[in-house]
């Protein structure tokens, strides 16, 4: 299978596609509701916010960092954006995107400053900023939600509406935004020198510095990109649920992080693909959806996801990936030599 790798499908992606395919077939046979257009569209609508988060987080992971503050950061951005557009008399989509991307970039830049300028480990910085963002937001807002968002933000925008025998299938705006962010991140990582430099820094920061890569700029680009994506994801999440709740995204960072890592990104940097990240999110989303349709307790879901990731880590570094990847091994050697 020589052309799989050219399409960007490595061994982990191939394995994920296989697992997802098995799950889809299994769920379509055991439940009558899974393989219907409304359910699939809902699955896509609900996953799109997480996928926007995931492509942003992927950039940081590739650059060798980690961030757990982005989800609560997105809540802060939601609040700031809501206050800004209301102060400016309503605003519109362009202003909303601009404001949330800018505020998001600012959140990322705060993290990047601590990590790069003051040489603090990124997990420690983001544990701290996680608490500062969340505690600060809850304290300053008193935990009060915003319901009276401007009309442009609240009103559902449907891309495709189909009436099927099992209900109305509706593809919403977040899916389109998700595609845009995925393409933009793909372009950044795969078609620009900046993207190659991010991979280089993640693999070996000292070597990257010595070949003349601007490490400081790379930190701001990686964390700023995640901040921007998180801001946009926050905008979409508020649009989808039609309110801004300060603790709505609390805990989301772990789900996204787990899924991205499941998709083959490595903590420590230098490895990870967009396709893998998306497949990771889809796998967890389909698992949740399937367990729900099968009537299994939602309490079991997190346990299963945690166990799946633990097993995936063990197998991917142990024997299974090598077993599956051995097929591609000869080519990989060629590509690297």
């Amino acid at each position: 299978m020589p052309d799989l790798r050219k399409l960007g499908i490595g061994s982990i992606e191939a394995l994920l596609i296989l697992v997802i395919a098995v799950m889809v077939i299994g769920l379509s046979l055991t439940t009558s509701t899974f393989l219907t257009l409304p359910n699939l569209f809902d699955l896509l609508n609900q996953s799109s916010v997480n996928i926007i988060f995931a492509v942003g987080l992927l950039v940081v992971l590739i650059a060798g960092g980690i961030d757990i503050s982005f989800a609560v950061g997105a809540s802060v951005v939601q609040y700031l954006t809501a206050l800004t557009v209301m102060r400016l008399g309503g605003g519109n989509w362009a202003l909303g995107f601009l404001a949330s991307a800018a505020f998001g970039f600012l959140m990322g830049a705060i993290n990047a400053t601590f990590i790069y300028r003051f040489r603090i480990v990124s997990i420690v910085v983001t544990i701290a900023t996680f608490n500062v963002f969340f505690g600060g937001l809850m304290f300053l807002t008193g935990g009060v939600s915003i319901y009276d968002l401007p009309d442009w933000w609240m009103n559902r925008v449907s891309l495709i509406t189909l009436k099927t025998s099992s209900g109305v299938a509706d593809l919403a705006l977040p899916v389109a935004v998700m595609f845009a962010t995925v393409v933009a991140t793909w372009f950044l990582l795969r078609r620009t020198t900046t993207g190659r430099q991010l991979y280089a820094m993640g693999d070996n920061p000292e070597a990257a510095r010595r070949v003349g890569i601007n490490i400081g700029a790379m930190h701001y680009i990686a964390f700023g990109w995640l901040g921007m994506m998180a801001g946009i994801a926050g905008l979409m999440q508020a649009h989808y649920v039609q309110e801004v709740v300060p603790n709505a995204l609390y805990g989301r960072e772990l789900d996204v992080l787990a899924a991205v890592v499941l998709g083959g990104a490595r903590l420590g940097g230098g490895r990870g693909t967009i396709l893998g990240a998306i497949l990771g999110i889809l796998l967890t989303a389909i698992t949740a959806n399937g367990l729900n349709l099968l009537g299994i307790s939602p309490y079991a879901f997190k346990m299963i996801i945690g166990a799946v990731i633990l097993i995936a880590i063990t197998l991917s570094s142990g024997g299974f990936a090598k077993l599956v990847g051995s097929r591609f091994a000869s080519q990989r050697v060629k590509a690297f030599s």
């Binding site: 500062v132 969340f134 990731i309 633990l310």
Partner: protein, 343 residues
Amino acid sequence: MKTSSSQRSAIAFVPADVVGLLGFLAVVVVAMSFASDRFFSADTFVSVAFQLPELGLFTLAMLMPLISGGFNLAVTFTANISGLAMAWVLHAHGGADAGAGVIILGIAAALATGAASGWVMGAIIARTGASPILVSLSMMIFLRGLGEFMTHGGDISGFPPAVLVMGNGLLLGVPVPLWIFAGCAAVWHVVMTRSRLGFATRMIGSNLEATRYSGIATTRAVTRIYMLSGLMCGVAGIVMLASFNSVRVGHGEAFLLISVLACFLGRVDPFGGFGRVVPVVIALVILQVIASGLNLLGANQHLATALWGVFLLAVMLLRWAWANGFFQSLVRRRVTASGGVTQ
């Protein structure tokens, strides 16, 4: 490189950092006494003595992985699961009327559960070389899910009075949990300074590969570090069960941040390799005094969360400033001393 050279010299002046932290403790106590006139009283110190052990046990559980250059994000949920194991044993054998044998069995179950989850983490980290952050994170997700699955988010309560004494009783005028914590801290101090494992922990934190090449069985050492960390989480789970008289998954989640903070305030190197138990214990007292003071001042719970985050950043910034200032003078000396030998 930077931090390691500065840390090595800090070890040479051992009393200096302890004295510095004690001075900081005095400043905090005085500042809190001025901020609130109710602070400097016996009640405050009793509450500090009762609340310190929980935070302290988590910090000890965090300490060894941090010194070995790793991380254990699963501490709080490992403690919850251990508490659940003990509660399950107690309820299966008589609930509130359980005898001494059952209580000992319950304690053993809690410790075994903690150690087992730590062992699994350690084995995965040591054998696959996967990032400790990632492994402990997925273990945390798994344990939280397991706990929520078993309890469905509810509380489990109703324990024999002998268990509650472990959380709320006094022995020779000192709270029982404080005795437990003091014992654990002493054991940790001995392990870190006197045992082969303690030495291996510090070496692994400095350089895992070099340690392995010098003939230390690093796989076994790393597994044991996380197993001991899990065991300490088990102790924390027992103390939490006893002092709250209930087990709930998610209890003590906020301790994760503060335990990391205590380690770094207690001069553990964030890149691993250096750190001692005594300064960390003093740092713990400082943080608990601040926490009790904030409580007395009536600070909002969310404000306190944000302040802990700010405080962690401030501590790291101070360390950076200190290391950098120190580093510059050190470099000048070293360059002249070594001549061109290292080049």
